[in-house]
């Protein structure tokens, strides 16, 4: 009880911070467009195990760290991933703006619906049509969000591999489906069905009285 009473104010502050962040970002974007985006974008790349680069980097690393390690046990190091930065292209700028807008909209929508449910339960109106609608909407967001993110990362990975093709290196933009989020979506959908039943029982009780 205490936790979800506390969650309401915390969520309201979070929503306010998101809106303020979006407003500040929009003002900066309109006033000084070139200052809005970072000059460089960083990607992570994996190195093929059997490649010359991997062997060369491992050797360079052991030479570099020779006699400089302070450890209780002998160490061996392998370089398998590196980060590279590239200048922000117009395509990357548009993508970054789209991703940011998407997350802000989704977060605000989700927070609004969660607040509706929390407020109603706090006020003793657990089973009503508003809660039912909000729960169905929350479950829809949880079910669709991982699918949208998966498609986005798939497109991004194709674009990055096409744009930055480097031998023996592969860009780490692959994205695994967020099964946890999907599970939460189904669970909340099941709870929405339970609430539908609760609403019916409540209406029957009211009619009897």
């Amino acid at each position: 009880m205490l936790l979800f009473r506390l969650a309401g104010p915390v969520l309201r502050i979070t929503r306010l911070l998101i809106i303020l962040g979006v407003l500040i970002a929009s003002v900066i974007l309109i006033a000084i467009p070139e200052a809005y985006f970072a000059k460089n974008q960083t990607f992570s790349f994996s190195i093929s195990d059997q490649s010359e680069i991997a062997a060369h980097l491992d050797k360079s690393l052991s030479d570099l760290l020779e006699n400089k390690a302070h450890t209780d046990e002998p160490i061996t190091l392998h370089v398998r991933s590196i980060e590279a930065s590239t200048k922000m292209s117009p395509v990357l700028k548009i993508l970054a703006a789209l991703v940011l807008s998407y997350f802000c909209i989704i977060s605000i929508l989700l927070i609004n619906q969660i607040l509706v449910v929390l407020e109603n339960i706090k006020n003793g109106m657990s089973f009503n049509a508003q809660n039912l609608k909000a729960l169905k909407f929350i479950s829809l967001i949880f079910l669709l969000n991982p699918l949208i993110q998966y498609v986005f990362h798939f497109i991004l990975s194709i674009w990055v591999s096409f744009q930055y093709h480097i031998e023996d290196l592969s860009a780490n933009v692959n994205y695994d489906m967020n099964w946890g989020e999907l599970m939460v979506g189904v669970l909340i959908y099941a709870l929405a069905i339970a609430f539908e039943q609760g609403l019916k029982i409540q209406q029957e009780n009211e009619l009897t009285i």
Binding site: L3, L61, A69, E73, R80, E83, G124, F127, L187, I193
Partner: protein
Amino acid sequence: MKILRLFAKLLSIAKFILLLGAIFAFTSLFSKYSEDPVYLLPYRNIDLGIYWTLQSPEMEEEMNAMLNTDGMVEFRKIEPMVKDTFGHRIGVYIFSVILIVGFYLLLHFSSKLILQIVEGNIFDSKNQFYLKGISILVILYAVLTPVISQLLTEYLRSTQSYEHLILRSNPGSNVYALTLGALISALSYAFSIGIKMREENEMTI
């Protein structure tokens, strides 16, 4: 309803696959430790957010010259994998066991709850117990992950340190999981009201 039933069955299967996978992973890690060194870092795989980065201008220059990417990209950070020590392996094992037990219970409670709802046993004290269990597990995950990550990072910093290598800890924000835990906790409270309503309804009939 059919999809929900199917999903509940899938969750029950996932629960057993999780157990089998855990047994297989533990036995293979134990057997490997006695033979070859195993490179466990970076820890990103198990969500602890601990990783090493190498920051060396010499190596950056070397990389850029070797790859000859015509200035298209410039290499900044290099992430090496470090041979794990017995102490940190134990830390990872303990965290993995806690995580596996937690996920098993989460899958168990979720599948049971969905099956109960599909079968029409909605406002039941068992369901309220499952919902409470789910909310506690989600909140514990949100609270414990950064604590364990920080403890393990401090341990690693005290036992292994290298020049040019920086150990970073970034378990990420858990506000999302906390919000979810609060929402499920509120829904479990609503379920307790639903149970009372159902009892009243049955008494009237």
